[in-house]
């Protein structure tokens, strides 16, 4: 160790120290808030509020989770979001993949014009009000299909998938299959899809996260509370401070700082319950997400 250090200039040693410190700081700043939410959700709310919980849960309390499990709203939201996410992602893949494949075929002459047709929508849009009126005319307002149909194609994902098909499917396979009598449909279904599971999982995950986190659609286009997705329910509990069944909800609910601590504990619990699926799956999925960005950056 010392031997190695002797060969380094003072500047390089300073650089290494600076690097270690800043990386440590970045890690702490990124992960600690998430960790703190988790430990605060199971600690005694009074200890949390007075700052005596920092690195380890203290004075176990399940009050927040008991309240959450007794309240039906979160579970209705969860159910709705699951439904919208599954149906939405299925439609997304069904529409995006064949289109991406067609656009990746060089002999498909209109591909350039069509790419322009798609890409233009990334930079220019009709805006909120014409969109709202269109949904109204199509009877999509307050309809669960509004979570699924309008977002059927995400142009960014379409471009990623097209780039993948273009660069990763060797032309020789296509020629061989064609000689064996395959048409485009057969080639796509039997050869292109099985060879493209990597990109399918990547954009599938992108779509999944997009649906899971969708807050805007519920806010603007849906009125009926029973049809609202999880994110709207979360907004009401976390931000609008709506009271829980147990009466320990809003700061103004039962009044006083005592109630506030319990309200905060419910919030910590709600954050954990609603974010847990992502945190748990994240280490396994992370490399797929990264792959998507890489493929997307090959050809913009």
């Amino acid at each position: 160790m010392l031997k190695r250090l002797r060969h380094r200039s003072p500047g390089d040693i300073a650089f290494a120290v600076f690097l270690a410190l800043s990386c440590g700081l970045i890690l702490f700043v990124t992960l600690y808030p998430v960790y703190f939410v988790m430990i605060a959700s199971v600690s005694d709310p009074t200890l949390v509020a007075t700052g005596r919980v920092s690195f380890w849960p203290r004075g176990w309390s399940w009050f927040g989770y008991e309240q959450i499990f007794a309240d039906s709203r979160i579970w209705t939201g969860y159910r709705n979001t699951l439904l919208y996410t599954v149906a939405g992602t299925a439609l997304n893949l069904l529409v995006t993949l064949p289109a991406a494949y067609a656009l990746s075929r060089r002999e498909f002459a209109p591909r350039k014009v069509l790419m322009l047709f798609f890409a233009f929508t990334m930079f220019f849009s009709g805006g909120l009000i014409p969109t709202y009126l269109l949904y109204r005319d199509l009877n999509l307002l307050d309809n669960w299909a509004v979570f699924v149909l309008p977002s059927a194609v995400n142009v960014f994902n379409l471009i990623i998938a097209r780039a993948f098909f273009e660069n990763s499917l060797p032309e020789e396979i296509f020629e061989a299959a064609t000689i064996d009598g395959a048409n485009y449909f057969q080639f796509f279904a039997k050869i292109a899809i099985p060879l493209s599971m990597a990109i399918i999982s990547v954009i599938g995950l992108y779509y999944l996260v997009q649906h899971w986190n969708d807050f805007f659609t519920g806010l603007v286009f849906v009125r009926t509370y029973d049809r609202q997705p999880l994110q709207i329910v979360l907004r009401d509990i976390l931000i609008s401070n709506q009271a829980f069944a147990g009466g320990a909800g809003g700061a103004g609910g039962t009044g006083g700082s005592y109630a506030q601590q319990y309200a905060d504990q419910i919030k910590y619990g709600v954050i954990v319950v609603s974010t847990l699926p992502i945190i748990v799956l994240y280490p396994f999925l992370q490399r797929y997400f990264e792959k998507g960005v890489m493929i997307g950056s090959v050809k913009g």
Partner: protein
């Protein structure tokens, strides 16, 4: 079942009227093209239809900004009123406040949110050891996948004036008595810092990819010339990122006034409204909540038009100066 011509050359041989030259024969006439490639059209059709309906019809509906909204006429509006609603917006007392708020939030986010991922990528790239690097990357991407509602919820509990974790930490540093969610002067910093916290790691991926493709010979040559690690970063790594930086800058410019509706909307409260009301939240309130459809469409169109101009201008400048552009 229609067979596909295996290769262009064979196609040319079998069909005497196909192009005689080398390469792919250009299909002559639309009917011919459809007959030959109808399957590709079928595959592309649903996506085309969805985009046509859900993106292009609203664009067609933009004319509502120049017309009187008429309930019976719907999307395209009734009588033509020209620039009436634009004039109404420019002359309204809200105009300059909205413009200032939108520009301040957008530009600050753009600048800080553009520099931070580059700095992070340069830093992470210096970390020696594959697994350490991977761990650092995985950790910094994580917040990107937390939903906006949860992020704002976390801000609220952490910045709570009575019991918040961050409030207490800042009090330890001597910053007492600031109610971060109620103080108008704290809104932009809180917004921008939390944006960087959430997206910095994720946005650095693309720069890390660019750094990974730098020729290692350059590093070796620099080391032989006696360059320290800092000067390698400055003279090799940073220049290697410039093309990526330009493309991303142009892309970001196209959304310069699209200051994130959802997060700003969720962070708004009566105390900070004087600095947090931006064009997009105003369009929502005017249009959806108080049903002034034509007026809100005009404001929205004004916003889109500015974005579009920014995009085109940045692209042209980048083309001239750095020979890099989107189109």
């Amino acid at each position: 079942m229609t067979l596909i011509e295996p290769t262009p050359v064979k196609a040319a041989g079998r069909r005497s009227r196909a192009a005689t030259g080398a390469g792919v024969p250009p299909p002559r006439g639309l009917r011919r093209h459809f007959r030959r490639y109808w399957q590709l059209w079928v595959m592309a059709a649903p996506a085309i239809a969805f985009v046509a309906v859900f993106s292009y019809i609203p664009m067609y509906g933009i004319q509502l900004a120049f017309r009187e909204f008429d309930f019976t006429a719907g999307l395209t509006g009734g009588e033509w009123v020209g620039l009436k609603y634009f004039r109404q917006f420019f002359e309204s007392p809200q105009f300059w406040t909205l413009m200032r708020n939108t520009v301040v939030i957008s530009v600050t986010t753009l600048v800080v949110g553009f520099i931070a991922p580059i700095a992070l990528a340069l830093l992470v790239n210096q970390v020696i050891g594959r697994s350490r690097k991977k761990f650092l990357q995985t950790a910094t991407y994580l917040p990107h996948f937390i939903s906006i509602v949860v992020i704002v919820g976390m801000l609220q509990v952490f910045l709570s004036p009575t019991s918040g974790l961050i409030t207490r930490f800042l009090e330890g540093l001597g910053l007492t008595g600031v109610n971060f969610l109620g103080d108008p002067s704290a809104f932009v910093p809180v917004y921008v810092i939390s944006e960087v916290w959430q997206h910095c790691g994720w946005n650095s991926i693309i720069y890390l990819a660019a750094l990974a493709s730098v020729d290692t010979q350059l590093y070796e040559a620099a080391k032989i010339d006696g360059a320290g690690r800092l000067s390698i970063v400055r003279h090799i790594d940073l220049p290697a990122l410039i093309p990526t930086m330009i493309v991303l800058l142009i892309l970001n410019m196209g959304g310069v006034l699209n200051a994130g509706f959802e997060k700003i909307f969720l962070m708004q409260n009566p105390l900070n409204l004087s600095v947090s009301e931006v064009i997009s939240t105003y369009v929502y309130k005017i249009g959806i909540l108080s049903n002034q459809f034509s007026y809100a469409t005009a404001i929205g169109l004004f916003n889109t038009a500015i974005n579009f101009v920014f995009l085109v201008v940045t692209n042209q400048i980048a083309k001239r100066v750095a020979n890099t552009s989107l189109w």
